[in-house]
Point group: D2
Chain length 304, copies 4
C-alpha cells in the first residue's frame, strides 16, 4: 500500500482540525517545543519506509521508553518480573498512589510511573552500569549509535520529582524496591529523557511488529512469545487512562509519551510513530490520536 | 490446521492439571452444574467446525450475553451509546460502586454490571417487546430458533438482585437510567439467563471473527468498523479485573461468564468457545483460561 | 446569664454578614422557604427560655430527626444496635457509597444517610406501627401533641429517593436490612419530614442537656450513660463532613439538617436551636454556624 | 474525689481482663518493653496528684507528642496554620495516602502522620534550632528539665521511615512542605522519640485541662480559646480511626501513641495519663482504653 499517499490525504483532512491540546508544561524543557510540529514515520517489516512532516526532528520520547526498559527487564528477569509488577490496566490517572497502596506496593502494570520505577529498579540491580548498558541496548535496537539521553530534560525532571519519590518510597516501604531510592529515581528520569526522531523510534520498535526479531539486522531481540506479550501490555495499558478509547478508535498496541509521541505496531506488518506535542487532558497527543484513528480506518488495518 | 488434534493434545496435557476453582454458588441454580464438565467448539470463518468434550451441552452463558446486547444497542443507538457508557477497563472488581460514583453514573464500560444495565435500559427504551425482540436477534445470530432464556436461572438471580438494584438506583439518581428500575433489572437478568452449547455460542460469535458479517448466512450483522470496536472492548474489558492477564496470556478478544464459559474471536480466522464451570478468584473459568493460553501458544495464533 | 442580650448583640454583629449560602433545592418543597429567616431558641435545664427572631416558625427538621430515631432505636436495641452501625466519623460526603462498600454494608455512624436508614429499619422491625409510634415518641419528648410529619415534604423526597434506595439495596445485599426496601425508605423519608419551630425542637432536645432526663416532665427518657453516648456521636458525626470544623469553632455536640436547622446541647446547662436556611457547601446552615461560633466564644461555654 | 480508691477498684476489676493486644513491633526498640506494664497518673487543676502502678516509669510517648508540637505551631502560626492542615477526622487508617492525594496535599488533621509532618515543617521553618527549641518548650510545659529525646528510638524509626518519606514527598509535590524533606522527617522522628513517665506527661498536659494556663507555674501557655480548640481536635482526631469509639465510651478529649500511652483531659478538672503497651488493631492501648472507659463511667466524668 502507498502509505505516503495515505499520509497526505489524512493530513489534508486534518488541516481544518482545531487542536486545543496543550504542550506539556510541568517541566520547562518540554514547554520549549513548537506546538505546531507534526511528524509521522512508518517502517514495514519488509523494509519499506514512509514518512511525513517533521519526521526527522528529535523529540523527547518520555514514557515511550518504558516499552524499551520493560523489554530489557523482561529479558533479564523472565517470568519473575511479574511477581513485582502486574499487567492490568490501572483504571486511574497515570501516577495515582491510591491503587499502589491498595495493592500493597505492586504496581498495576509496567507503564504507570510506579511500574516503570520498579522496572528501573530491576535494571539498576542487574546491569553493571545501568545508564550506559541501557543506552547500548537502545542503540542496538535502533541500529543507531548516536541515540542519547538529554541531560537538560533529565535535570529538569529531577528538580520536580517529588511525586515519583513518593511512589518510590511507598513501594520501598512495601519491600518492592531493592536499591537506593535516589539512584533508582535518577535512572528512571534518565530513561525518560532519551530523544529520537519519528524515524529512529519507528525503527526501534520494528522488532515488536515482527514477533521479536529485528527484520533489518536479523537479531532476535526477544522470543515471539515475549514480543506478543509486550504488545498485549501495550494494548491494555499503553495510553494511561485512555487505553480503552485508543483500542476502540485505533485498534493497535501503542505507547504514548508526554513529549507528544505515540508509537504503535501492527504485528506482522509495520511499526509507526506519530509526533505532535499538543496533549489532551489524559496526557496523550491530541492530533496523534486523531491521525492514527483515521489511518487505521482508512487502511482498515486494526488488529481487531 | 487440524484443530481436533490440537484440542486432544492440550486436553491430554491438562489431564494432570489440578483445578482448585469453585463453581459459582451465589445462586442455587448455577451451583447445580457438574464441575467436571469441559467442552470446546471452534468455528472458522470458512465454515469448518471443531469440537471437543461436552461441547453440545447447554450451559448458562451469563455475562457472555453482554456482547450480544451491546451489539444490538450499538446498532440501534450508534455513537450516541457512548455518551452513557465508557470503553475503559474498570480497574476494579466487576460490580464495584466506587467507580460509578466517581464517574457520576457513567459506567466505565458495557461489560461491568452497571454498564450492561445501561445497555439493557437502552434496549428497554428502543425495542417494542424487549424480551421477545432480543431473543429474536440472538436466534438470528445463532441461526437457531431453539435458543431460549432459562426462567429458572432468571428467577434465581432476581431473588438475589439487591446489588444490581443498588447500581441501577445509583445511576438513576445521576439521570443515566430512563426506564422503571424494576423493569430494567428484570430484563437484565433475563439476558444473562440465556443457555447455549459451546457449538451454538461459537456459531453466534462468528460474525465478530468475520468483520461483522456472518459467513454462513451472509448477513452483515454490523459494519466492519463496529465489529472491530466491539472486539476492542472485549479485549480491554471482557474478563472483569483479569483482562490484562488474559490479553497477556491468551492474546485474543474474549468474554467470560460466571457459568464457566469463555468466548473468543480471532479476527479473520475463527470464533471459539470453551466451557468449564470451576472459576478462579476473579470469576473466570480456571481451566478455560489455561486451555486458551495453551491453544494460542501452540497455534501461535494470538492477535499480537 | 441574660442570653437575650447575647442574642441581640451577636445578631447585631451579624447584620453586616454577607450570607452567600444556598437554600436546599434538591426537592421543590424545601426551596420554597424564605432565605432570610433566622430564629434561635435556648432552653436551660432549669426551665428558662430565651428566643430571638423567627423562633416560633415551623421548619423542616430533616436530618436533625436522626438524633431522635437513634435515641428510640438505642433504647429498644440497647448495645446490639452497634453491631449494625458504627460510631466513627465518615470522612466522606454524607451520602457516599464508597465507605459503605468498603465496610461491607455497615454504615460508619447513625447520622450518615445509610446509618439512619439502618436505624429506620430497626424501628420498622420493632415498632407495632412505626409511623404512628415514632411520632408518639417525638410528641412525648417535646411535650407537644401537635408535632407532625409533613406529607408534602415526604412526598417530594420520595420522588427523588433513588440514591437512598441505592444505599438501602446495597446494605440489603450485605444482609444489613431486614425489611422490605420500599417500606424502610418510605419510613425514613417520613422521619425526615417532621416540622418544628426552634422552640419546639430545643424543648425536644432538652433531655440530652440533662443526662437523659427531661427536666420539665421529670421523665427519664434514656439513662445518663446513653445520653452521654448520643451526645458523643453528635460531637463526632453530627455535621456531615464538617464535624471537625464545628467542634473546633463551636465546641458543642450538635446536629444539623438541610432545612437549615442546627440543634446543640451543652450537657448540664442548655439545649439550643438555631435556624437559617442558607447552607454552605457542606450542607450546614451558614449563618447558623457563624452564630453558634460567636455564641460559644462570647459565653465561653464550649465543652472543651 | 478519692481517685486512688477508684484506681484500685478499677484495677481490681481489670485483673481478670484478658489482654490480647500486641506490643508495637514495627521498630525493634519499641518491642523491648514489658507488655505487663501498667501505670496511671492524674493531676487535678487544683494541684492534687493520684497515681497507680508503673506511673513513674519512662515510656516512649510517640504520637502523644503531636499535641505538644501542634500547640507550639498553633501559637507561632496562629490561624494561618489551618491553611496547611485541616481539623476533620480522617475516616481512614492513620497513615493513608489516599485522603492526602484526594485533598491535594492538605492533611485532614494535625494528628495523622501527614498532618504532624506539616506541623514539624512549620517548626523547622520558624524555630532557630528546632530540636533544641522544641525540647525547651516541652521542658517548660512539664516543669522538668530532664525530659529528653531517645536517640535509640529516633534512630530505629529513621531506618524504617519510607512511608513517612512518601507522605512528605507527596505533600512537597503539592507545595505543602517548605523545607528539605530529610530535615523535616528527621525532626518528626525526634519529636516522636520523647520519653516521659505517666506523671510527667499528665503534668505536661495540665494546661489543656485548665483553659490554657498551667495552674502550677501560673504561665498562660496558650489562650483559653486555643486550649479549647486543641481539645476539640483531640476529641475528633486523637485516636486514629477509633476517635468515635473513644468518644462514645470514654467521652474525653485524648491522644494516644503506639508506645501504649493515652493522655486525656477533663477541662476544668484534671489531666490523666494511662500507659499499657499492648495495642488493639487500631493501634491504641487495649487496657488503657478499657481503664478509661471504666474510669469515666465510675466517676461520671465525661464531658457529655
Amino acid at each position: 500500500m502507498d502509505y505516503n499517499k495515505v499520509f497526505c490525504e489524512i493530513s489534508k483532512s486534518l488541516e481544518s482540525y482545531h487542536d486545543n491540546g496543550k504542550v506539556a508544561s510541568y517541566i520547562p524543557e518540554l514547554k520549549k517545543v513548537a506546538p505546531i510540529k507534526f511528524g509521522v514515520h512508518l517502517c514495514t517489516v519488509t523494509g519499506e519506509n514512509y514518512q511525513f512532516g517533521d519526521s526527522e526532528e528529535k523529540f523527547s520520547i518520555q514514557s515511550i521508553c518504558k516499552v524499551l526498559s520493560l523489554t530489557l527487564a523482561f529479558e533479564i528477569e523472565q517470568e519473575d518480573l511479574w511477581k513485582r509488577v502486574g499487567v492490568e490496566p490501572s483504571g486511574n490517572p497515570f501516577n495515582s498512589l491510591v491503587q499502589l497502596e491498595y495493592d500493597e506496593g505492586i504496581p498495576r502494570n509496567p507503564f504507570i510511573n510506579a511500574g516503570a520505577i520498579v522496572v528501573a529498579d530491576v535494571l539498576v540491580s542487574k546491569l553493571e552500569n545501568p545508564k550506559r548498558d541501557f543506552l547500548d541496548f537502545v542503540r542496538k535496537l535502533s541500529g543507531n549509535n548516536t541515540i542519547n539521553y538529554s541531560e537538560r530534560i533529565a535535570q529538569s525532571e529531577k528538580s520536580k520529582g517529588h511525586r515519583n519519590a513518593a511512589l518510590c518510597n511507598l513501594m520501598k516501604s512495601f519491600g518492592n524496591i531493592e536499591n537506593n531510592i535516589h539512584e533508582v529515581i535518577e535512572f528512571y528520569f534518565d530513561l525518560c529523557s532519551i530523544e529520537m526522531t519519528c524515524e529512529e523510534l519507528a525503527r526501534t520498535f520494528l522488532f515488536l511488529a515482527n514477533y521479536g526479531k529485528d527484520p533489518i539486522s536479523g537479531n532476535q531481540i526477544v522470543s515471539s512469545s515475549k514480543s506478543k506479550r509486550i504488545n498485549a501490555v501495550m494494548q491494555l495499558c499503553g495510553l494511561y487512562d485512555e487505553a480503552g478509547e485508543f483500542s476502540f478508535k485505533v485498534g493497535l498496541p501503542g505507547k504514548s509519551g508526554v513529549g507528544g509521541g505515540i508509537a504503535v505496531v501492527h504485528p506482522g506488518k509495520y511499526s509507526m510513530v506519530v509526533w505532535s506535542p499538543r496533549l489532551n487532558k489524559k496526557g496523550n497527543s491530541n492530533k496523534g490520536m486523531q491521525f492514527l484513528e483515521e489511518f487505521t480506518s482508512y487502511t482498515e488495518s486494526s488488529i481487531f
